[in-house]
Amino acid sequence: MTRGAGTTRRDTDLMLIRQAVRDSLRKCDPRVQVRNPVMFIVWLGALMTAAYALEALLAGQGDGAGFFGALTAWLAFTVLFANFAEALAEGRGRAQAASLRSTRGAVSAKLLGTADRSAPRKLVPATELKRGECVLVEAGDVIPSDGEVIEGIASVDESAITGESAPVIRESGGDRSSVTGGTRVLSDWLVVRISAEQGETFLDRMIAMVEGAKRQKTPNEIALTLFLAALTLIFLFAVATLHPFARFAVVASGQGSPVPVPVLIALLVCLIPTTIGGLLSAIGIAGMDRLIQANVIATSGRAVEAAGDVDVLLLDKTGTITLGNRQASAFLPVEGVREEDLAEAAQLASLSDETPEGRSIAVLAKERFNLRERDMAGKNARFVPFTAQTRMSGVDFEGRVIRKGAFDAVERHVAAMGGTVVGGTRAIVESVAKQGATPLVVAVDSRVLGVIVLKDVVKGGIRERFAELRRMGIRTVMITGDNPLTAAAIAAEAGVDDFLAEATPEAKLKLIREQQEGGRLVAMTGDGTNDAPALAQADVAVAMNSGTQAAKEAGNMVDLDSNPTKLIEIVKIGKQLLVTRGALTTFSLSNDVAKYFAILPAAFAATYPALRQFDLMRLHSPESAILSAVIFNAVVIVALIPIALRGAAWRPLSAEQLLRRNLLVYGLGGLVAPFIGIKLIDLALVALHLT
């Protein structure tokens, strides 16, 4: 999954293109073509036109044979171009799958008789492992399959899956107990209970997904395919009935001859939605590919599409909306105490505190008063760590007892030391809590100096992202274990639409159900085992790769970067997928108008010369008009491959603005572009003396 830079990237692209060219020839097999009704008609048309060209050749009609031959060639190109688009999209995935597969290789596993490191072991191929069996993995071994650590702790290199080179810690119990087959243990050992049958491991699913082998059509794709098939049928009949109509016209007008079948086939191919029909599967594969580029693995294409429809995003506060840890933001001394003294005491109390909160207190003191961290070694300092009983931490230093902690804990501590809490302290503590921050009271001996304000720091730029989501019609709900007061303050600062405070797994599940009953689609991220029920209930559930096996199995996507804000990215990819299909369908259909104007006057040039006035493009001759339209139809597929693979441009605008924009670009653009394109091709054909 590592992405090469510069020249290597270009080399890979060239290789991919070469491979795609080979594949597009292979895909001409009728058994492959028949799966796509639109392109299968083009394929059949090319075959029939070839037969007519051959017939003309044998009958010694050189001109007719040349014209029909050229038509055949361009119809064949139309099929090849569509194949090429699909092959190119598939090729990218296949390259990734190949590199994934190589990491697996022929792995052997140390099968344990019982779930115990010292149990007798037996070497078996990884492919023979069954669910529930236990294996030992030691430093240097590749983990043979997905599983859960039941004993031991080890550092694991997961770069084969995530592309992230820094090793991660995996240990039994807790939220870091799941391991993925194909990753490598770097140090120590693990006893792993296998949790997936062969062929269903994460790596297998990932390979299947990037290869597109298991790609099933999504509901929207099925609906679109149906609609395109219906349109194709209409055009098939509109063109097929033109045959008797033309015969009737020849009799009625007493001149000309019936339209030759290859010309009718050319008209048909130009009219049926070949542009979208040829690119449809490429769009789907490329959408999946973009997701993989974002380091997200989806278990189904349906989930990606659902992501585009999401109405409500449930976001965990910690790590998604805030920086994960509270940070000291102010020192509030009680009356009669200098802020600097408070800061110094606070810093001293935090020197041994290696939690991010403790670090931030020392950092703030340094920033505000340039207080340097003193080296306490050998100065007879005794550090008092935080315990659940005392709910305080601090230091005994130079005879002073310095403590910081929750208000009630410090109050009790001060009383025990024979002091009392100054009246103003409670007021400060309450006002801090009201602002959604956490107050830490600092006391030296029996005297309270003041309060440290610990604040959740909202991530930079997150407010703008939520505003963006709101414009797209997506509501954001913040989930937090904090009390409602704190939650409300952070919610207001971050700009989320709603929040769920003091959230329990049950409360989360209930919230999701309520939203879904109201007809809304809910997306959420999660990593812990306690998130699993909610993940299973949500419509789009992104599990963090660092999370537990239960969470990963409950979700329908896994984020390899374990980045909770990725959800916003996923929504964008889902929407882009739909927009691309809609835009190219509209483009494909609006193209038809110009093609009628090119082909109809040409087809009836001899029977009804008056129809020549219909030829707005003033094309050179009937033959060049028909050929130009067919060439345009084929070339436009290639021209649109980049849009199909990259996805149509998408911006977070309201639905109406988006529709207006896309209608202008793809609707009106699709109406005008072929008039220009066909005329240019006609001019080129004349210039090259090809007609």
Partner: protein, 572 residues
């Protein structure tokens, strides 16, 4: 009043009447008609008792469709039997003989499918019994069934997680009793006041002012229960006239005022259904948006048709005809038009009658200039969704709305939804069938006729105009319109059979998928609208909807049109 003003005034008047009518419909279909219609209740209840129907019994879409198909089948068989046995039945004062088998089939299908294509002259083919008890009754029933299906589809959009879509028998009965009967009663009286005939006599003999050249004592004029049939043929988008020349006949449409009444009646109910729909789905703007789209589709053909007819043809100018309009002379192409209506009223009628799937005429479309004739042909080829038939017009338009929402929804990056209902593959499948089948029937029918020696013999005009006549006939039948380009001798076994099949396909292959759609939609939950939801009442959406209707119509029929009216015009 100038021609354009006459047209605008007529359309405005229709809209003003349709709005309150839409409100009346709500009460009617909820089983609580407004106070001034309550006196009809005993009739409704008596019918339920007679047929042993519980009007509150809800039906699934399959049951609803079976009831609709069953009643239509009975209607066709009965009407066929009436025609074949009219010599044995009462009210046949002119002693007309039994109707031939293929003609009887064609007429039976035609009236039950709300097409009312007539390949016969009513006054000299059908007895009073057939006209009144057979055709007249079907005028009510077929229009009522169309309304019932629309009501079911509307419920599909309005209901959430429901297995049923209403009761066909009560929807049907209420359509006829509370809407069609009172309206046509009212209209008949208004028409009689203008001199439309209403009698059970067969014929009267008139003394001629100038008997020179005529044989016998006087001219025999056919009469009958005309006003009542004209009223329902206009209101129920039926269009089958009492007389062969339909509303161009002075006994069907004697004065400019009767013409105005009849014109308004053509568009009244189809337009009212839009307003009804908007109110039932609890968002009036949706109904208004669809009504605006219908008007937008109607206006361009109206404009170009009027221009073409007023301009006449180069041939007429070369022959020295005075084509300019001034006091006392309409100018333009008056061939096939009644002098008491003039060009504006004739063109407005021709476009309105084909916009709504009415099919009655007050002028002969065959005599129009190529572009003037293209206007009504084009209106039918849009699939009878700009107003369309009572009920059937709006349900056809709603299918286009679904297709438009689908394309638009994809373009904004969301699974498409309309009125909170997600559009899934099943809905698209049904929508595709509805879009596909009538077009295919029209094209294939015309193609077979082109290749058929017997059909070609029916064409009186050579060249592209003859082709237009065939295309017009099959388009009219497949879209259940029923208007004719005249000219064509349609009363042949082949054309009676082929057009009959087209009418069957055009009615039932549309109505049944629509009911399936209603069933599927009713089962779905409603997704609440947000700012990411595509609004379907805004001008942008209305324009896109019109564009989709026009592009689908154009892409389907452009090759055929190019060989008919378009080349005829270019060659003028």
């Amino acid at each position: 009043m100038s021609g354009s003003l006459q047209m605008i005034a007529t359309l405005l008047l229709t809209t003003m009447l349709a709005w309150p009518l839409g409100r009346v419909m709500i009460g009617v279909y909820e089983g609580s008609p407004p106070a001034w219609l309550r006196w009809l209740r005993p009739l409704e209840h008596a019918l339920y008792r007679l047929a042993r129907i519980d009007p509150a019994q809800e039906m699934t879409w399959r049951q609803y469709a079976s009831a609709f198909l069953g009643s239509s089948t009975v209607g066709i068989l009965l009407l066929y039997a009436f025609q074949r046995c009219q010599t044995l039945l009462p009210w046949n004062p002119a002693e007309l003989s039994a109707v031939s088998p293929w003609l009887a089939f064609n007429a039976a299908v035609s009236f039950v499918s709300n097409t009312n294509w007539q390949s016969y002259g009513g006054e000299y083919t059908m007895s009073h019994w057939v006209q009144a008890v057979g055709l007249g009754v079907q005028n009510f029933l077929s229009a009522g069934a169309g309304l019932a299906i629309l009501v079911a589809l509307t419920r599909g959009f309005a209901r959430t997680r429901s297995q049923s879509i209403g009761n066909f028998w009560s929807d049907w009965t209420r359509s006829v009793i509370y809407l069609l009967l009172p309206l046509s009663l009212f209209l008949s009286v208004a028409l009689v006041s203008q001199g439309v005939v209403q009698t059970f006599e067969a014929r009267v003999t008139a003394t001629m002012v100038d008997p020179a050249g005529a044989e016998g004592e006087g001219q025999i004029l056919a009469v009958g229960p005309v006003a009542s049939q004209v009223a329902i043929k206009q209101l129920g988008t039926n269009g089958g006239g009492y007389f062969n020349t339909n509303s161009a006949h002075p006994f069907e449409n004697p004065t400019p005022l009767s013409n105005l009444f009849e014109l308004i009646s053509i568009l009244l109910l189809p337009l009212a259904t839009c307003f009804y729909f908007g109110q039932v789905v609890r968002d009036r703007r949706q109904g208004v948006a669809i009504a605006i789209a219908m008007f937008l589709l109607l206006l361009p053909p109206l404009w170009w048709g009027y221009q073409a007819e007023q301009a006449g043809t180069p041939g007429m100018a070369a022959a020295g005809a005075d084509l300019s309009a001034r006091a006392g002379s309409s100018g333009g192409n008056m061939e096939g038009k009644e002098t008491r209506f003039g060009i504006a009223q004739s063109v407005l009628w021709s476009v309105a009658t084909t916009a709504a799937s009415n099919g009655s005429v007050n002028s002969m479309h065959d005599s129009y200039t190529p572009l003037g004739g293209l206007a009504p042909l084009w209106m039918m080829q849009l699939g009878e969704v700009s107003f369309g038939g009572v009920g059937s017009g709006l349900y056809g338009m709603l299918v286009f709305v679904i297709v438009t929402v689908f394309a638009a929804g994809l373009m904004v990056g969301r699974t498409p939804e309309y009125l909170g209902k997600k559009i899934d593959p099943f809905e698209m499948k049904m929508a595709s069938i509805v879009l596909l089948i009538p077009s295919l029937a029209a094209l294939v029918g015309t193609a077979i006729a082109c290749a058929n020696q017997a059909a070609r013999a029916s064409i009186p005009n050579p060249g592209p105009h003859g082709f237009s006549e065939l295309l017009y006939a099959f388009t009219s039948a497949a879209n259940n319109n029923g208007s004719a380009f005249a000219g064509l001798n349609a009363n042949t076994d082949f054309l009676n059979g082929a057009l009959g099949v087209c009418m069957l396909v055009g009615r039932f292959w549309v109505a049944v998928p629509i009911l399936a759609l209603a069933g599927a939609l009713a089962r779905k939950p409603v997704v609440p609208a947000g700012s990411g939801t595509l609004p379907t009442h805004v001008p942008l959406f209305v324009l896109f909807l019109c564009a989709v209707v026009v592009i689908v119509g154009a892409l389907t029929y452009l090759p055929a049109l190019a060989l008919g009216p378009i080349v005829e015009h270019l060659a003028l």
